[in-house]
């Protein structure tokens, strides 16, 4: 048994014990133990991975294991990690851990779905078999419906339904794309590595085939990555979701999209990526600016943050499509960074909402005086969001911009510069929000006596801030780790697809 499977096994055990235990204490105990175990495991994995790499193991994926699952269909249970997945697993570990503490007072059913969601997420990141990946992807999606629908707020039924249907619609595209890849590569293996390297019975996917399936896969994952114009599930979904679910969703689930785009669309269909990236570059570039500008006029904190997520996640896809190893590394860093800071943001917003019963910017005022701890957390999340050096956002954005600038043609230049403007707009909406709700004087007597964060909330906030600052201050180990996995892919693209995209009218 490969130890990566523990990432799925632990949530399974958690599910089982949650089912068995009774009482709040028992549930909390299970959740805390389980999520700590997951966090510890992901940290251990990171160290082990780095040690292994340092020892000179340059295999594309480490800790790989493969067991035949559906033999007649060539489906296997295959796991393995590279730098990207390790980073994502670490992120998931942190978010699940903090999410547990943020949803401290929730009931058993909530945690059941929550854990199922976590299982999907972890499973997705350890999979290197397309079928498994897709399965875990969907496992992660469906609990969202109930989590939002039952424990959400506002137009929760509508939002939950919309979110679920749009994401499932995307998975329809995705599934077709996966079939296309599978049969395009000879129909002998679902294993990513084999398909990418044409081993294990896989053959090179024909260029024309690639061009058909690339949009399917990219849209399929892109919807989850909030790609314009398929992002509208995100504001509603986030606004209605309970705190920890927003965290998990924005923090991890949306990363499935970016990760999938890279791992499947780019990695397996490099020629098509080179040929067709321009279409999606325009879409994602638009999304980056559009999301940021839309965020400026929102009045609901969660909507604001959701649109900001659209912008930031758009940046992830945008960077991936730049097809340079720096930009892609930046994309992964941005995923990490956005995951952490949005989780922090949503956590704090949720806590404020829990206390003040409103998320309307116009109704909140002067919170800094009333609930200083939460306010500081909020401000730090905001600063990270607008890319303050020393926090993670800066690192990611700079890497992306430098990487994107490696494409010297006017088309890429214009888009890159347009994307750069989003950091100015980000400053606008973040400062507007911070200025309105934290600063000033509170005029609402109901808000005068709000209590500051409890210990479990503090723990969650501190852990997240520590991670954000950690990445922001010492990014190179992470960046190197990610790049070691990104650059072979990009080299492959540059090697096989040195031609300029013929279909791009702007070149």
């Amino acid at each position: 048994m490969n130890f990566l499977s523990l990432f799925v096994l632990i949530p399974l055990l958690m599910l089982l014990s949650l089912w068995l235990v009774k009482g709040t204490k028992g549930i909390r105990a299970v959740m805390v133990v389980g999520s700590s175990a997951l966090l510890a495991l992901s940290i251990y994995l990171t160290f082990a991975f780095l040690a292994e790499r340092a020892a000179g193991n340059t295999a594309e994926m480490l800790y790989t294991a493969s067991f035949t699952w559906f033999e007649p269909l060539h489906i296997s249970y295959s796991v393995g990690v590279d730098g990207i997945s390790v980073a994502m697993l670490l992120l998931s570990g942190v978010i699940v851990f903090t999410g547990t503490f943020v949803s401290w007072d929730m009931c058993k059913e909530y945690f059941l779905w929550f854990t199922l969601l976590s299982m999907g997420v972890f499973g997705f990141f350890i999979s290197i078999d397309l079928f498994m990946m897709f399965m875990f992807y969907e496992i992660a999606l469906i609990p969202m419906y109930l989590l939002i629908g039952v424990w959400g707020s506002g137009h929760k039924e509508y939002s939950a339904m919309k979110l679920t249907l749009m994401l499932m619609g995307a998975s329809a595209f995705l599934m077709l794309g996966i079939f296309g890849i599978f049969y395009g590569a000879g129909g002998q293996t679902f294993n990513l590595l084999d398909i990418a390297s044409h081993t294990g019975g896989a053959t090179l996917i024909e260029f024309s085939q690639q061009c058909i399936w690339f949009p399917f896969v990219f849209v399929g994952f892109g919807v989850l990555g909030a790609m314009f114009p398929f992002h509208t599930w995100s504001p509603d979904g986030h606004a209605s979701a309970p705190t920890a679910v927003s965290m998990l969703h924005a923090g991890v689930l949306m990363k499935l999209g970016g990760y999938g785009c890279f791992r499947v669309a780019i990695y397996l269909l490099p020629d098509a990526a080179n040929e067709l990236s321009w279409i999606f570059l325009i879409l994602t570039g638009t999304g980056v600016v559009y999301g940021a500008l839309s965020a400026c006029v929102q009045t609901d904190l969660k909507y604001l943050n959701a649109y900001s997520s659209v912008s930031h996640c758009g940046m992830v896809l945008f960077a991936i499509l730049m097809l340079t190893s720096t930009a892609s590394t930046g994309a992964i860093l941005q995923m990490l960074s956005h995951g952490l800071m949005t989780a922090l943001f949503f956590a704090v917003i949720g806590m404020i909402y829990h206390r003040a019963h409103t998320r309307d910017i116009r109704e909140l005022n002067g919170l800094m005086r009333i609930i200083p701890f939460l306010s500081v957390g909020f401000a730090i999340a905001g600063l990270a969001n607008l890319g303050l050096p020393g926090l993670s956002g800066f690192v990611a954005e700079m890497t992306i911009f430098v990487g994107a600038f490696q494409n010297a043609d006017l088309f890429h230049r214009v888009l890159t510069i347009a994307a750069c403007t989003s950091i100015v707009v980000a400053a606008v909406y973040i400062l507007r929000m911070v200025g309105k709700i934290l600063y000033g004087t509170n005029v609402n007597p109901d808000h005068a006596k709000l209590h500051d964060a409890h210990w479990e909330e503090r723990l969650a906030i501190i852990v997240l801030i520590a991670c954000i600052a950690g990445i922001g201050l010492a990014p190179s180990w992470l960046s190197n780790m990610i790049d070691a996995s990104v650059s072979p892919v990009m080299e492959q693209i540059q090697a096989v697809a040195s031609t300029v995209s013929k279909s791009n009218p702007f070149l």
């Binding site: 559906f70 496992i139 469906i142 109930l146 629908g149 039952v150 329809a172």
Partner: protein, 483 residues
């Protein structure tokens, strides 16, 4: 004459034995009208007997294709597997029927219920194993005629009567056309033995093409494919819930399998033609049914439309007539059966306990009956194709088969339709979990039989996908039926 060839029909004979035993039991145990005791005995006999017979079939399975009566009867291991699958479904139906059978007005009729059900099952057996259109036709009718009686089982109920009338009228109409189609086949081929027909089939012969269409329409009626489906919703709504459950999986599944077999065996030279037909039938079936299902309020009617669209997915496995498609179809049937019967078992128990049949009645169901609604959720998710439940695997495999057969766009349309189907399945989930109700279905406990049935369904839904052995087991028998 070699009487040993009867042994090749051991599946049918063993089922017949079960029927006879039950008949006897009904005759002798249920004789007195005043006695209520024996009722329990009958279901106590029926379920284990059927299980034993299932095991017997599987154990006694021939290693290869066998025939009897000069190819009139054909059987292959896969067919036995399908029969066993149908048996399991029937067992679940019997389990859930128990609470209904124990109602006062039904106690005297329960022998009839079991016998009629088993006779339709026998008809399906023959249909599946037929090697000749006569055998097929007899099997089909044997499956249809008792079914009418089952649909009309609650005599005093106007809806039940109407449902039966619609069923029998449409059935007769379709069998009239089917029979005419078979006659055309006979006229052009000179034989109705499956094994001989493929050789004389000709895709340019329009009479044969017309016969193909008539055949598909006749069997499409049983599978309830659009546009031959219109009876379905009315009949499902009017029929007793248990019977609806039976109708929605067992007879449909058997017919779909038979269609697959006959299309690949008999109409093999016309594969292009029937691919074209099925292509459009599947698209229309899935889409129309989904669109209808969206706004249903009666849950049985809703499940009828769901069943129509599921039938579309089921038939997707037949596209191109590949071995992979066959496995995928049988597997899909199995998974669909488990999940659908789970849903019907719950609908049935709710109806029996509270008399409520509308989706809006399920508001707040989770608050009062968490376990039932949890199982219902599992089953609905499985129907919608959500992992890790079995429905995901079956859908994936059937789409994969469709893709491999060369129909990516058909698969795509089907995939997009899964979104709509997810929507309406979620409507029920929403009713149970999210909506609040002033008059929810009261808390109740279900009877032991239903509990066992639900447990079986839940186990099936959860494990039939993850445990790849089941699929591989099916796959290992997918030989011998393809030309």
């Amino acid at each position: 004459m070699d009487y040993s060839q009867f042994l090749n029909m051991s599946d049918e004979l063993s089922l017949l034995a079960v029927v006879v035993i039950l008949f006897m039991a009904d005759l002798f145990c249920c004789g007195s009208e005043n006695s209520t005791k024996p009722s329990k005995a009958l279901s106590l006999i029926a379920v284990p007997l059927l299980l034993v017979q299932t095991v017997y079939m599987l154990v006694n399975m021939p290693a290869d294709c066998v025939t009897a009566f000069g190819d009139m009867y054909l059987s292959a291991p896969m067919m036995t597997v399908v029969k066993a699958v149908l048996n399991i479904g029937t067992v679940i139906v019997f389990l859930m029927a128990n609470v209904w059978m124990n109602r006062e007005e039904n106690q005297v009729k329960q022998g009839e219920f079991y016998l009629l059900t088993l006779f339709t099952l026998l008809g399906m057996y023959f249909m599946i194993s037929s090697g000749h259109f006569l055998m097929f036709f007899i099997g089909l009718e044997l499956a249809s005629i008792p079914m009418t009686a089952l649909v009309a089982f609650t005599k005093k109920n106007q809806e039940s009567a109407e449902a039966a009338a619609k069923y029998i009228l449409t059935a007769l109409f379709s069998s009239g056309l089917l029979l005419y189609g078979i006659s055309l086949l006979y006229g052009t081929c000179g034989t109705l033995y499956f094994n001989d027909m493929a050789a004389v089939m000709d895709a340019s012969n329009w009479v044969q093409l017309a016969a193909l269409v008539l055949f598909i329409s006749g069997i499409g009626f049983k599978i309830s494919l659009v546009p031959f489906h219109l009876w379905t919703a009315d009949t499902y709504e009017g029929a007793p819930t248990t019977v609806t459950g039976y109708l929605s999986v067992i007879s449909k599944g058997a017919a779909a399998f038979v269609m697959f077999v006959i299309l690949t065996k008999v109409f093999e030279p016309m594969v292009e033609n029937w691919n074209l037909l099925l292509f459009w039938i599947i698209i229309v079936s899935i889409t129309v049914a989904n669109i209808f299902a969206v706004r249903q309020n009666n849950i049985k009617r809703f499940m009828a439309f769901s069943a129509i669209s599921q039938a579309g997915y089921l038939v997707l496995g037949a596209m191109g007539g590949t071995a992979q498609g066959m496995t995928a179809m049988v597997y899909y049937l199995f998974v669909y059966m488990v999940a659908n019967l789970g849903v019907f078992a719950i609908i049935n128990i709710v109806e029996q306990r509270s008399g409520k049949l509308n989706i809006s009645d399920y508001d707040g169901f989770y608050a009062t009956n968490p376990k039932l609604s949890f199982i219902m959720t599992l089953c609905l998710f499985s129907l919608a194709g959500i992992p890790p439940f079995a429905g995901f695997f079956s859908k994936f495999f059937i789409f994969m088969a469709g893709f491999k057969a060369g129909f990516p766009w058909l698969v795509f349309i089907a995939l997009v339709n899964t979104v709509i189907s997810l929507y309406y399945y979620l409507l029920i989930v929403k009713a149970m979990y999210i909506k609040k109700s002033d008059t929810p279905i009261a808390r109740f406990s279900s009877d032991g039989y239903t509990q066992i049935g639900l447990a079986l369904c839940a186990i099936g839904v959860v494990f039939a996908g993850i445990l790849s052995q089941i699929y591989q087991y099916f796959d290992s028998f997918s030989f011998g039926l393809m030309p």
